[in-house]
């Protein structure tokens, strides 16, 4: 099968190059036969890469340890569930996964692009094919997953224990789907630039694909946070690691785009800015891939250092130069159709929103690269860890949270003073009340108080918008409140789905602020002994060590410490934390012993128990007990964000007039309206 896999890679490379040439030639010359050839090449590339994936999976599932990749990431006793995920557990396999998914996305774009956007497709195929060809050539030159060993080991090395977690099965594909699918809106943007068809049509095509990327990336980031929380054992979910930062960067710029694109749709402004955001988002996704794979910046998440990083660096620089050169050549065609009428308008608030999104992205990028910069300038490689990022980004994040509430309250074009008073009175009062209540209740961390107050303000704006919309429908159509709510959302999916996303973001911010009250302790306990810890909610938690068990599982030897939990003297359950020594099929230890945490989660706080180890081979056990406030709300907030994203991107939604408005129709009508008034 590895011969077939290698052959499939070579065919994919050649066909992708053919597709790129046919795509660009067909697009520029307008020749249908070349365009058809490009489409077929896209399909053929996808088929060839799927054959390569099946070949590698076959080798993984049959434990063909003569294949270096199989020997490196599987063992005879690796559970089937994780054998599938071995496909993207290592550098080489993940490159194949990336190229294959990109080809599938390219094919989906070809198949599902509506007739009015088909004019862009030859160029889209050309761009996607070039990117696919790059990934395949990187594989063939420096990271071939089908490379064979000169001997066949009896058993493989096995998968890193930390990757043997359900979160790690779903987190990387979701993150990859987000990263990879950014290529499609980028390809449409470049197609619009190359074809000089820069009317509103390209924007509609790009927005949908950007939403897809944004949603996948959001899910991927959230799953990564969950995995880090339950698996890494340090008791948090975000550590400002370079690889984590790399996933956040395109998310920030895409979120900026999803806001500013509304200004272009409704007012015909910000065309240059929107295009640069899409190009920048794609470049940041490639930058993230470079960071993960080059080893240029140390990270616990990155793949082993390899020469493939240099391929990415060259590709990144080349793509950036070429993209912005084409962009610069088309700038004269990207003039705004209308002018900003007032500094107090929704358009202006979106501009400040974009400033903050891009500003945070810049500060994260700056902090991530600062160690390299410092080494180049002052010869010292400094460490830029969480204290730095929190100091720089927390104020910016709070400002962004404030704008999340302010933006939707300001009218398009021009807001009047009575309008502002009417819109802001209730949300501002709610925010101030929340802040005062927290201060009276004894909360003294200023940033946390500010975060909760702003969160309340934003939630109040969302509630106010829903309430007014539902009431209007109730009055106008006599609908019941529930029906009015359902129809309100169903017919204005973008607007109200967006509000749901805002509510989810507030929950996330509140949960992040809750971690300021994290408390923990270490204790060494004999069976029957207890330790206590007071939570920020005033409860006294008692941890009683019950004993240690040892048993064998499929591919590991387990030592489990069991703790009985009591809150304010009342028993609430039992938690188990494990030390796992993974072994191969012959019972030989592989990797260092890993730790599995025990977590009890409720709406207020998580109890997080980590077994550090035992003392001198006895049942006397060293534990770390942590109380993490509001963590449940991180995951719930994540669900809400994803739900809002799904509502926004759900097909249909609203009568034709609304859809035309979304397609930039409002701009034309607004111009006509002005003309009519003048005459």
């Amino acid at each position: 099968m590895t011969v077939l896999g290698n052959l499939a890679l070579w065919i994919a490379l050649l066909v992708a190059l053919w597709g790129a040439v046919m795509g660009f030639a067909g697009g520029s010359q307008g020749r249908p036969e070349l365009q058809l050839s490009a489409r077929r090449a896209m399909f053929a590339t996808t088929a060839a890469l799927l054959v390569a994936v099946v070949s590698l999976e076959w080798a993984l599932f049959t434990r063909d340890f003569n294949v270096e990749y199989v020997a490196s990431y599987t063992s005879r006793n690796l559970p089937t569930f994780y054998t599938w995920s071995a496909l993207y557990a290592g550098q080489k396999g993940s490159l194949l996964f990336w190229a294959s998914v990109l080809a599938i996305f390219g094919t989906l774009a070809v198949v599902f692009t509506s007739a009015r956007h088909r004019v862009y497709l030859p160029y889209v195929i050309g761009i996607v094919s070039i990117v696919v060809a790059f990934f395949v050539s990187a594989m063939l030159a420096a990271a071939n997953p089908f490379e064979r060993l000169p001997f066949t080991p009896v058993d493989g090395r096995g998968m890193n224990p930390q990757l043997q977690n359900p979160g790690m099965v779903f987190h990387p594909p979701m993150l990859y789907l987000g990263y990879i699918s950014i290529t499609i809106p980028f390809a449409f943007a470049m197609a619009a630039l190359l074809s000089k068809r820069l009317d509103v049509e390209w924007l509609v095509a790009i927005r949908k694909w950007t939403l897809v990327s944004w949603l996948f990336l959001s899910i991927g980031i959230l799953l990564g946070m969950w995995w880090a929380y339950v698996e890494l054992g340090w008791g948090g979910y975000w550590a400002w690691d370079p690889v984590e930062n790399a996933s956040l960067l395109p998310w920030l710029t895409m979120t900026a785009f999803l806001h500013s694109v509304m200004v272009q749709e409704k007012r015909g402004m910000l065309k240059k800015w929107n295009l640069s955001l899409i190009i920048g988002s794609w470049l940041l996704s490639i930058f993230g891939t470079f960071i993960t794979r080059s080893g240029v910046i140390s990270s616990v998440h990155s793949f082993a250092q390899s020469g493939v990083g240099y391929f990415f660096l060259v590709f990144l620089v080349g793509s950036a130069v070429l993209s912005f050169w084409i962009y610069a050549r088309r700038l004269p065609l990207l003039t705004a159709e209308t002018r900003l009428e007032s500094m107090v308008s929704r358009e202006a608030s979106f501009l400040f929103n974009n400033l903050l999104f891009v500003g945070i992205a810049f500060s994260v990028l700056w902090g991530t690269l600062f160690p390299i910069l410092s080494e180049a300038v002052q010869g010292t490689k400094v460490t830029v860890g969480p204290p730095f990022f929190n100091q720089v980004n927390v104020p910016l994040g709070l400002a962004l949270l404030a704008l999340t509430g302010i933006g939707p309250l300001i009218a398009w074009r021009r807001a009047s003073l009575p309008n502002l008073q009417r819109q802001f009175a209730m949300p501002v009062a709610a925010g101030l009340f929340a802040g005062l209540a927290l201060l009276v209740a004894g909360m003294r961390q200023p940033l946390a108080v500010l975060a909760f107050s702003l969160g309340t303000f934003v939630l109040a704006t969302v509630a106010q918008e829903f309430f007014r919309g539902i009431s209007a429908r109730h009055r106008q159509y006599g609908e019941g409140r529930a029906l009015a709510a359902a129809r309100l959302i169903g017919r204005n999916r973008r607007r109200y789905g967006g509000y749901v996303v805002h509510a989810g973001i507030v929950l996330l911010f509140a949960a992040f602020a809750g971690m300021a009250f994290k408390t923990e302790t270490q204790a060494t306990l004999r069976p029957g002994e207890s330790a206590t810890l007071r939570s920020p909610f005033g409860h006294e938690w008692t941890f009683t060590h019950l004993g240690v068990s040892q048993y064998d599982a499929l591919n590991r030897l387990v030592t489990a410490g069991t703790v009985e939990l009591a809150r304010d003297g009342r028993r609430v359950g039992i938690l188990k934390s494990e030390k796992r020594q993974h072994v191969d099929g012959l019972g030989r230890p592989t990797f260092e012993p890993s730790t599995e945490v025990g977590i009890r989660s409720d709406l207020r706080e998580d109890v997080y128990v980590v077994m550090a180890g035992v003392v001198n081979g006895t049942e006397q056990t060293v534990y770390r007990f942590t109380l993490n406030p509001l963590v449940w709300w991180v995951w719930f907030g994540g669900y809400v964000v994803v739900l809002g994203g799904v509502i926004v991107m759900w097909p249909g939604g609203g009568p034709p007039a609304v859809r035309r408005t979304q397609a930039g129709y409002a701009v034309k009508l607004a111009s006509q309206s002005q003309e009519t008034r003048k005459s």
Partner: protein, 202 residues
Amino acid sequence: MTTITRRGFLQRSGALLAAGVTGSAIQSPAPDSLAGAGPSGRLWDPNRAGRSQAPTTERDSDPAIQVLEKRLKCTCGCGLDVYTCRTTDFTCTTSPAMHRDVLALLDQGLSEDEVVQAFVERYGVTVLMAPPKRGFNLAGYFVPSLAIVVAGAGLLVALRRWTRQAAVPASASAAGAPDAAAVAASPEELERLQHELDEFSA
């Protein structure tokens, strides 16, 4: 009442699902008690429990020492601070040693800043989790904020200019906008636009 953790729930759901697929019940690994033969009895196989741990003391959990150690980076290459590393990666021998050094320096009567300075002198500035605020490092802290402030000021200036241009009637807007007269819109469409604008304003 037995508490079910998230992991436990997933494991049980997975086992049930697998049992449904294979049609047979999966035997869960028996959590036997081969381990101790009494309070603090010896484990059946101590080797599988990882590196032996030293009993902790109250100082190991001292909040002030936690804060101090979160300023120092473990030099084992993990990228974590000393406190997080020694309470997370229990195979690491570097962070426990650095913790002992912290305690020893505090015992000598050094203040927290002096302890940090002692570590900098020993390991270099890279031992700090965040660069000290001096020299070129100031750029690290202030360039992002400065860039945002400058961009914000630029944006304000641009906004003022754009809004002034928009305020100039007919001539300016006709020159900047596409030929509005060429755009056809029926009265119904204009009415619908007005309705939507009202909706946005609301």
